[in-house]
Point group: D2
Chain length 153, copies 4
């Protein structure tokens, strides 16, 4: 609850390692996403999806549902990392725009929390293809999500 | 492909069997969804997801991403069934509201096409839990989707 | 069209007249919308926007923001009519697809409540142009909305 | 306010003055929004809504429909400013999350274009209350919009 001390204002309540251990524990099936958390700060989280044969569609692109699952996962992790709890948060709304077909490269997802209230959280996610070409200027998808946070009691 | 003759207004361009054969051919990975088309008419399609261990989460509920993939799939099939083609249609936007956790029962998805233009299609999907209790009055999720339809040339 | 007689289940907690008096009282500025409630049942409300010079854009079409305000208003009224209270409900999300430019005719909006929980309500609205031609088969817009319902205490 | 000097890459095709003259010409009814463009760059535009009695609701807050109209207007202006044309662009989807009630202060809207294709544009808008307190860290609303851009011929 106290964020304290020095540059601490820039520290989330869970580290990258703690988050990944937590995820492997709670959602073993997320292994399919091949998700690796790269950076976490209060109200911010960046993750990478390692692209492999199994999440490519014919044509070498990544399926829309894979990106929706990614978006949902990273905002939920950003809530948990920021609060130090919140795994009971339930997705109530997801809106996603697909802007460009990603090629067969890793995906980068950057999540921000726009609101983190007692009962409701709102976040957005920008998804890039890490294909060395246009990078952050040409996202492949952008999603906005809302979560209901159950009362602690 | 030919819509024929008599009850014409009530017939789509593809039958349930043709759609399922098409789906198995184009998206073998959709097998994971365990989707069965139950009814198809112009601008309307109803499908069922057979719920089994593998698409249940701990707690016996069905994951949000499974419902998003279902929503995307049924509207896309409704486009193809109505046009007799359109498999190149690309999802550009999906908005979904999750309203109730589904229990461990089959899901029913009813898709309607709200617009079917030359370049743009819009549809919505109501998702119910087939748990014998409250049925259609208490949907578990509702999604709206838009698709870009590439020029035929 | 006739809502008839018996069946308490088919009655909302407020009548059309009560709703319109309430609206004129609480939102006098809604007069600009020129909204008339036509039918109300539990979880359902239909309204009409009388189109006049002042809500037409150059070109004789109705502005998008007018339709968004209409969508927001009718779902909110459906909540109030169904509950007999709820005017403190706050819109938290609105998603709208514009499908066709409406011509210079009245608009019809049909709102359904998809979920009406203690803290959260979800509804959708189909908007038609009452231009005598294609009617309900060719809606001009469709919106989905969520509301937070404050605790009564 | 002037970002200037070198860097042509940093210049949009229309200046703030040109945009405001254009807006007053094409949408005189936008006067009601009391909108002033503050900064424009390629794929970016920031505007301010001067809050006055007439766009306040009882309780001193700004109505949701006002924010929706603002969001729609600023992304559309960002398209026009970036392209040097595009006023025929038509809104096809708007998704907005309302996160906090704005008090009786000016609103700031920052629009970014996430995609600017030949036929489709996608943008998002963050809306802040310029009330001197929490600023950009606590946005009052966030919207995502898509536009269909008609062929030039």
């Amino acid at each position: 609850m106290n964020r304290s001390v020095s540059g601490v204002a820039a520290m989330a309540k869970m580290t990258v390692d703690q988050l990944e251990a937590f995820l492997a524990d709670v959602f073993p099936q997320m292994d399919e996403l091949n998700l690796r958390v790269e950076e976490v700060r209060p109200r911010y989280l960046r993750a990478r999806i390692i692209t492999s044969e199994k999440n490519l569609r014919p044509g070498g692109t990544i399926a829309g549902p894979t990106m929706m699952a990614l978006a949902d996962c990273v905002v939920w992790l950003a809530i948990i990392a920021t609060l130090g709890h919140g795994e009971q948060a339930v997705t109530t709304n997801l809106n996603i725009n697909f802007m460009k077909r990603p090629g067969p490269a890793d995906l980068i997802a950057e999540a921000r929390l726009l609101k983190l209230g007692r009962r409701l959280a709102v976040g957005d996610v920008m998804i890039y293809s890490d294909d060395g070409s246009d990078g952050a200027d040409h996202p492949v998808a952008h999603a906005t999500l809302t979560y209901a946070i159950p009362s602690p009691d």
